[in-house]
């Protein structure tokens, strides 16, 4: 009796999960097949598979815009931001966590954590104004903002994590005459690796996929466009030509899809880690 009930439950679970999986895949399936059809073919049927491996839409997109430039911009912005974040966030967090009895460092912790409660919209307009005055409406300016905003959550996560790392190791290193920088670099930073992975994953997804900040900072100069800005502007120009539109969606998704397929375990673990720790 019990057995039968749990079997029915199991089948229902599979059924619901499979249905959900179809709901998730359906839009992606459509994106792929529409991107590979001629306008005439998709006029006949949206859902049917394309009759041949038709790649003209992708070529067309590449011919019309500087697709390579947009990918490069996204890669540069995400890459440089992440490198700087990997240095700045653990360094300041280490100082704060090892001086928690001193006024300046106590203040710093509150100062950075405060940012969690302030929605981006509150500073969006003044920041845009300021970046215009500083002549920083470019990739450098955008990277500066990403690094700055990453500090808020980053310091919060790292100071918490550093509390779990015992002082004995560092003390032994200092006894042996190691400098602060040497100790940090050789002992602390390697111990922080799991949290650094979390920090990088969270920020990589955010920066790569962000739309609002690039829209404010870079939209006026097409040579600075990221993949997200390219899609947004491409849509306004070619929304009637939906084979091309879907080709552009697919092309923008491919890099992150490839990364996901190879690193999904780490991404899921990293994000879970971050949220549970906070």
């Amino acid at each position: 009796m019990m057995n039968l009930r749990s079997q029915v439950g199991n089948i229902a679970t599979y059924f619901i999960l499979a249905f959900g999986a179809i709901l998730i895949f359906f839009p992606l399936y459509l994106t792929v097949i529409v991107a590979m059809k001629t306008p005439a073919e998709s006029a006949q049927s949206f859902f049917a598979l394309p009759s041949s491996f038709y790649l003209e839409n992708f070529k067309e997109v590449i011919n019309r815009v500087n697709f390579g430039t947009y990918v490069m911009n996204s890669v540069i912005i995400t890459g440089i931001s992440l490198i700087l974040i990997t240095y700045f966030v653990p360094m300041v967090s280490y100082s704060i966590s090892r001086n928690s009895d001193k006024k300046y460092y106590k203040f710093l912790l509150i100062y950075f954590t405060l940012g969690i409660f302030i929605p981006f919209q509150v500073i969006m307009i003044p920041v845009a104004k300021m970046m215009t005055q500083f002549h920083l409406l470019n990739i450098t300016g955008l990277i500066i903002l990403y690094v700055t905003f990453s500090l808020i959550q980053g310091v919060f996560l790292f100071v918490g994590y550093l509390r779990t790392i015992p002082y004995e190791l560092e003390e032994a290193a200092y006894m042996d005459g190691s400098t602060v920088w040497g100790t940090y670099n050789k002992i602390i930073f390697p111990l922080l690796r799991p949290m650094t992975a979390t920090l990088l994953i969270m920020n990589a997804l955010w920066i790569w996929n962000d739309f609002l900040l690039p829209l404010i900072m870079l939209n006026k100069s097409p040579k600075f466009w990221t993949l997200q800005l390219f899609q947004y502007n491409f849509k306004s120009q070619y929304s009637f030509d939906y084979n091309l539109a879907f080709a552009s969606f697919l092309m923008s998704m491919v890099p992150i899809m490839i990364v996901y397929i190879f690193t999904q375990r780490h991404i899921i673990a990293g994000l879970t880690n971050g949220a549970v720790k906070s």
Binding site: T13, L17, T31, Y111, K129, F149, W181, K235, M253
Partner: protein, 289 residues
């Protein structure tokens, strides 16, 4: 020199972060507070100090009130459905079934896509595909573009938001479910607790901290809704889906109502702060002691 540098290393470690954060986050915030008390349009050289009159006008402004109503209703629905659906999915994905790892990676996948891409894809689906299916199946409300209807457009956006937005909460709930000690569940079983009782009294207390995080993240996403609207309706039809995020953006960058836009953003800050405090107070009642 070397020892001096060594002595101050920890201080030097804080310098880049402190400088960046002060210049690019804290100072704009105070600038914003200041400008909200002026009538600056963002470009002119002259502007006047107008005290709290921006705030008074914001309270009276019907467009803002509509936008606040839309955004709040949207956020409440979003939080409700996100929590329910992701908890349900987490329970299913945590049960002992085959292909569990596969299903987990499928359900997590939407989280890595950009909101804009997802919004644009669904925009095309609402525009081309669903009406086509609706006509074929003779379902009337599907046979037109939902996003073109002032009453239904918000649900179009909401459903896309949920499609993508349950991924991370689901994974977080799974992690929380795995943190429930198995002995505790066994003990409850032996004491004769039913499945529902076990869930309510043993499992739920372990889910509360994660649920708090999920509610706060989702609240923030809902109240600052921007990307999906920009991709799907741009605030339309009419002003039916003009979220606060869109409104602030338009004031600042399209309509040259600089100080007015900042004022709205400060109002948003107070709403968010207020709701977060209420939520934390409410949930602390249920915390595992």
């Amino acid at each position: 020199m070397k020892t001096l540098l060594n002595k101050h290393t920890l201080f030097l470690f804080t310098v880049p972060a402190f400088v960046l954060y002060t210049i690019f986050f804290i100072s704009p915030m105070f600038n914003g507070l200041y400008y909200s008390l002026t009538d600056w349009d963002g470009f002119s050289k002259d502007y006047d100090f107008v005290g709290l009159s921006n705030f008074i006008e914001v309270m009276k402004d019907e467009q803002i009130r509509n936008s606040l109503t839309f955004t709040t209703r949207y956020t409440v629905l979003l939080v409700f459905f996100t929590v329910i659906i992701s908890l349900f999915l987490a329970l299913l994905l945590n049960s002992k079934i085959r292909l569990r790892t596969f299903f987990r990676s499928v359900y997590f996948f939407p989280a890595v896509l950009s909101l804009l891409t997802v919004g644009l894809i669904f925009n095309q689906i609402f525009y081309q595909v669903l009406p086509f299916m609706g006509k074929g199946l003779n379902i009337e409300f599907l046979s037109v573009n939902i996003l073109a209807s002032p009453t239904l457009a918000q649900f179009g956006i909401l459903s896309v938001n949920i499609w993508q937005g349950v991924s991370i909460p689901t994974i977080l709930f799974i992690a929380a479910l795995q943190s429930v000690p198995a002995e505790l569940i066994e003990a409850a079983k032996i004491d004769g607790a039913t499945a529902v009782q076990r869930f309510r009294n043993v499992v739920i207390p372990y889910l509360i901290p994660v649920m708090n995080i999920i509610i706060i993240i989702t609240l923030k996403n809902g109240l600052t809704l921007f990307d999906y609207v920009k991709a799907m309706t741009d605030g339309g039809p009419g002003r039916a889906t003009e979220s606060i995020g869109i409104l602030i953006y338009n004031y600042a960058f399209e309509e040259l109502k600089f100080s007015y836009g900042i004022t709205v953003s400060i109002v948003l800050f107070f709403i968010m702060g207020g709701i977060s405090i209420i939520q934390l107070k409410w949930s602390s009642k249920f915390e595992v002691k």
